[in-house]
């Protein structure tokens, strides 16, 4: 493997809610992500996938352990990591172009340069012609494309994606997955993608990390050797089914454990 871009070293995150409630979201989690690698974190709800992304982005600080980005520890909001959220988090009062230009604007780039950058990435995600639309006027799939363009325009070293396609319908999701593969091939950015969908992970990832239920740890790390470029028909191959069975084996165990450990319904 090439030099590690993200290194998590024995990271523990404990949430204290009230005097007695104490949730160990992550415990002694260690993992490495290599240069340009596309890693999917898979696991049921409550395994700390999102917490891990928040730690890498610097929104949260680990209770113990350290996360390094290219050897430098993450302390505070990390300017080298860019995040995509499940619920888009686009600024509703800015147009598509305004949202995509936001990162360059925060870097105080001159207006003309910002425009050029925005135009380029809006084209890359196939939204040319929609620059002057407000997010509220776009469909969910289109809004998520805007967040992709916004992330690309912000020019971050590491991409963090928190179930970005979970709210989309099955067909839109498939199209978006293919777009993401294409964009990843073009940009070569190191990406950590959180999902609870094994098929999605198998289509996208170079490597799939299965996380254990609370407290979250790395349960298994599986290299995804499915040939690239991947199209949907890869799902019909024997190798695909073998990998899926293997991953599901790990996940199922954890999901069962989580359900049994959760007191009453709706624990999460």
């Amino acid at each position: 493997m090439a030099a590690s871009v993200i290194v998590a070293n024995k990271v523990t995150k404990i949430f204290e809610a009230g005097r007695r409630d104490r949730v160990v979201a992550l415990e002694d989690l260690s993992l490495e992500v290599g240069e340009g690698e596309f890693v999917c974190l898979v696991g049921g709800s409550g395994c700390g996938k999102t917490t891990f992304l928040n730690l890498v982005a610097g929104f949260l600080a680990p209770t113990e352990g350290t996360i390094y980005l290219r050897g430098r520890p993450v302390a505070g909001i990390e300017p080298r990591a860019g995040m995509i959220f499940q619920s888009y988090a686009l600024l509703p009062w800015k147009t598509v172009a305004g949202n995509v230009e936001f990162g360059p604007k925060m870097k105080r780039l001159p207006r003309a340069e910002r425009r050029a950058i925005a135009e380029r990435f809006i084209r890359m995600v196939g939204l040319t012609g929609f620059e002057r639309f407000y997010p509220g006027q776009l469909s969910g799939g289109m809004q998520q494309r805007v967040t992709l363009a916004r992330l690309l325009a912000a020019d971050r070293e590491v991409f963090l994606m928190d179930e970005p396609f979970a709210a989309l319908d099955a067909m839109t999701r498939q199209v978006m997955q293919e777009e993401l593969i294409r964009i990843h091939e073009q940009s070569g950015k190191t990406t950590v993608f959180v999902t609870h969908n094994i098929d999605e992970a198998l289509i996208l990832a170079d490597r799939i990390i299965v996380m254990s239920a609370r407290p979250g740890r790395v349960k298994a790390s599986i290299d995804n050797d499915l040939p690239r470029p991947r199209r949907v028909d890869v799902q019909l191959s024997a190798r695909y089914l073998a990998l899926k069975t293997q991953i599901w084996g790990h996940v199922e165990e954890e999901v069962r454990r989580h359900i049994e450990a959760t007191p009453r319904a709706g624990g999460e």
Binding site: L91, P92, W93, F102, S139
Partner: protein, 285 residues
């Protein structure tokens, strides 16, 4: 395609659009239908009024008839005094309201974003807020006399605390995920304030100020009833003393119409400064 049509409509710079005339025929139909229904209900009310007064069911001492009110209205319109009363009241409302808004908006944003400031101001606010504007009349008369300054002071005291609360709440209710996203894209604290908190709280601030504007009217009218020689409140009070109920009703109707006009002016301003909300509002109506 539909999305695009929708968007061009919402973004459309056409003046007809801005005046609130929807372009699509179905929507136009719906709008004119609800307008017709509204006009109908007003007409029914007027007819019922005419019926009970002309039919002698209610004595004109208790409820003057529409023609009586019309006669009074015409008299006061002709000599221009009604217009003058509306103008004096309107000036007091706007003056006091703008004064309150100018102080409340920046202060409210500061209180909404800083926990320390909130802890400092919250108790004072909860002491002032429940006081009705009428209770400020004795003190303000003592401080400012009975001229214009006192009217502005009444409006200010009557609306300031509410305005401040609205601004504070809307500032605090900005989606924290948007702030997170902005920070992730490199926004500093000041950037977050300018690019996220301000525009994010603007719709709430504006609707809060609309409520306060209505509040300002009640403040002015009650202040005018107590101590003023002009304005709609004074007109109603004089008419009461002269036992001229028709004139009282002229004053009341004038208030309704003036507030209605100011409200629609406010809505035009809203469309201008909240362009991203326009398509939401249109969809609702």
């Amino acid at each position: 395609m539909r999305e695009r049509a929708e968007a061009t409509r919402a973004l459309g710079a056409g003046t007809a659009e801005r005046a609130g005339a929807p372009r699509r025929s179905s929507r136009y139909g719906a709008a004119s239908r609800s307008f017709a229904l509204g006009a109908l209900s007003v007409l029914v009310l007027l007819a019922a009024w005419q019926l009970v007064t002309a039919g002698g069911y209610i004595s004109p001492i208790f409820l003057p008839s529409p023609p009586q009110v019309m006669r009074q209205a015409r008299r006061y319109l002709m000599d221009g005094s009604l217009f003058w009363h509306v103008l004096s009241s309107g000036r007091r409302v706007l003056g006091g309201f703008l004064l309150a808004a100018v102080v409340a908006v920046p202060l409210g944003i500061a209180l909404g974003t800083s926990r320390t400031a909130k802890a400092l101001f919250d108790p004072i606010l909860s002491i002032i807020r429940p006081l009705p504007s009428l209770s400020w009349i004795p003190l303000t008369i003592l401080w400012f006399g009975i001229d214009e300054g006192q009217k502005y002071a009444i409006v200010f005291m009557g609306t300031f605390a509410s305005a401040l609360l609205y601004v504070m709440e809307s500032t605090r209710r900005v989606d924290p995920l948007l702030i997170k996203a902005a920070q992730n894209l490199g926004a500093t604290r000041l950037d977050v304030l300018r690019e996220v908190v301000l525009p994010g709280s603007l719709p709430g601030i504006i609707s809060g100020l609309k409520v306060c504007l209505a509040l300002a009217w009640t403040c002015v009218l009650s202040a005018e009833m107590v101590a003023a020689s002009n304005g709609l409140g004074a007109l109603i009070w004089f008419a009461k003393d002269w036992n001229n109920m028709a004139l009282v009703m002229v004053g009341m109707v004038s208030i309704s119409i003036t507030v209605l006009l100011i409200d629609s002016a406010f809505r035009l301003v809203e469309d201008r400064i909240l362009p991203w909300e326009r398509h939401h509002r249109r969809r609702d109506t």
